[in-house]
Amino acid sequence: MSGPSIEAVNLSKRYGSFTALSNLSLKIEGSKCVGFLGPNGAGKTTTLKIFTDMIRASEGKALINGVDVHLNKKQALGSVGALIESPEIYPALTPREALSMIAEIRGLPRAEARKKIEEIVTEVKMNEWLDKKVGKFSKGMKQRINIAAALLSDPEVIMLDEPTTGLDPRGQSEVRDIVKDLKKKNRLVFMSSHLLNEVQEICDEVAMIDHGKLLVYDKLSNVTSRFSGDGSNVVEIELSREIDDQSINKNIASLGGVSSVEKVDSRKIRIHFTGGMQNQESLLQELATMKIGMISFRPTASALEDTYLSLIKDTL
């Protein structure tokens, strides 16, 4: 396969008697967004730090595009943009200078770097602050610059460790849009997050880890259908007018794949169904033809949340 790839080969990390990561083997190939989920202390950040050579693995290898990060960091990370934890930027520098430094380290020609910095800073909505000292910025503003730094050189592999940390709701939404755009640009995005909604909205695949061990790695739809409660997916429908119980029971509950229908309120219902994306598509089509005043059709996080809760029992 010629697309970007990251691979953990029997990756372990121990701190004395504590095992942060245990024999993690995971290969991700191609242009996609993979959500990396797990409770606090599960080993998510440890994995990302090994992939960026911030820490060394006790055993095993971390490969990016087939290159061992520890043995050949420069080559391996040449195609990677990473945001690990929430880095601080030298407070006396401006975003333009901090990003210019990254551009020079990454070998962007000066003219291209100048143009790219303007573009990326506009994308993270920090263009008005481009020449102000970073030391005066809020946490969210710094995080936007960190995201800009990770994306500056158009890397084909992007590793993001809880990228929306510190951002306000608008900022979180903007970051999600940025990640969605990256998928369209044929990038491989490996993103850890605690926010299941976020992962469900933007990721194609999901890897779950707990106590340093990989529990599952598969397509999001496969994972949710395999592990969530009754194996069903959930969509939430909003209506422009009220719906009665009879319509729900007679018309909607009898649709193919629907296992149950829950009335949230007079204008909102939640439909549990099986059969993955194929059934979801036909369900949408049939609901649209019913002319019940459907104004939104939105898969909820509950399927992923069910999966998460069924696989991960402890919070620490």
Binding site: R56, L77, P87, I89
Partner: protein, 285 residues
């Protein structure tokens, strides 16, 4: 959003990274920008100017014989007695938290995840500290010479240039040492504190104890090696002397120029290598 051009993606993969030497230059450049914008540069500059100002005022007002007896005495007392202090301050200000700060302040997370060797970051930061400190030494020597010209005309003794060369070598060694301690600790205050204690009190105390009680030449103490900065301004150059005051044997040690250079170079090489190894191995946990 436009779809990517396959050739663009390919060109991204094929982008040639700068050499490690070039990346060292980048780190040095931005570290210097950071220094010159931060308060520490101005604080150190003000301290240097206060020392120079005090000396200028005191010598101008009191006209002490020790300073004004001869050109060489002037430079020995003015430059020789204060330059090591300026160098130690520079080492503490620029080297004390240079590496530990990357961990404590989390600025390292911004840099280390990029395609750059840690050694390039270490060397780049070290060079920036050396350049900034050299500027301080330069300002101090300029003020010293300015005063020397006022009192003795343009007759600047060649020994001052030798002493300046040894002072720069001492600066190199001090920065090697401070970077080593900065790599050893993750806490900036700890690395600065240890450096301050060692250079302002520790080494002098060790040197005094060893020479006073054990009567051993303290060739393993960096401040003893730095003695060449002042010794070269003495005429004749001092030599080790065995004295017998009151029937008790005592030796006054004087470091020779080759010994001093060897001690300072040795300190630099050993601490620079150890510091680099520590930084390479240290984890951003």
């Amino acid at each position: 959003m436009t779809q990517p051009n396959p050739s663009t993606v390919q060109s991204l993969n094929e982008r040639v990274l700068p050499s490690s030497v070039s990346q060292v230059g980048t780190i040095t450049k931005y570290e210097l920008v950071n220094y010159f914008r931060s308060r520490r540069f101005y604080v150190l500059l003000i301290i240097g100017l206060i020392i120079s100002g005090l000396l200028t005022g005191l010598v101008g007002y009191y006209r002490p014989i020790g300073f004004l007896d001869s050109t060489l005495d002037f430079y020995l007392n003015w430059w020789g007695m204060s330059i090591t202090f300026v160098i130690i301050l520079s080492g503490i200000f620029y080297g004390g938290d240079s590496i530990s700060g990357e961990f404590q302040n989390k600025t390292g997370y911004f840099l280390v995840g990029n395609p750059i060797r840690r050694s390039s970051i270490y060397i780049g930061k070290w060079l920036a500290a050396l350049i900034a400190s050299t500027i301080m030494v330069g300002i101090f020597v300029a003020i010293t010479i300015g005063n020397g010209i006022y009192y003795f005309g343009f007759n600047v003794p060649y020994q001052l240039w030798e002493s300046l060369g040894f002072a720069l070598l001492y600066l190199v060694a001090v920065l090697g040492f401070t970077f080593f301690f900065s790599s050893l600790f993750k806490s900036s205050s700890m690395s600065i504190l240890v450096t301050v204690i060692l250079f302002l009190f520790g080494f002098s105390l060790i040197e005094a104890l060893i020479t006073g009680f054990a009567q051993i030449e303290p060739w393993f103490v960096i401040t003893y090696g730095a003695g060449i900065i002042t010794n070269v301004l003495k005429d004749p150059y001092p030599v080790t002397q065995a004295l017998r005051p009151g029937g008790r044997g005592e030796t006054i040690f004087a470091v020779t120029i080759p010994e001093g250079i060897a001690i300072l170079l040795g300190y630099f090489v050993v601490t620079a290598v150890l510091g680099l190894i520590l930084f390479e191995r240290k984890e951003f946990t």
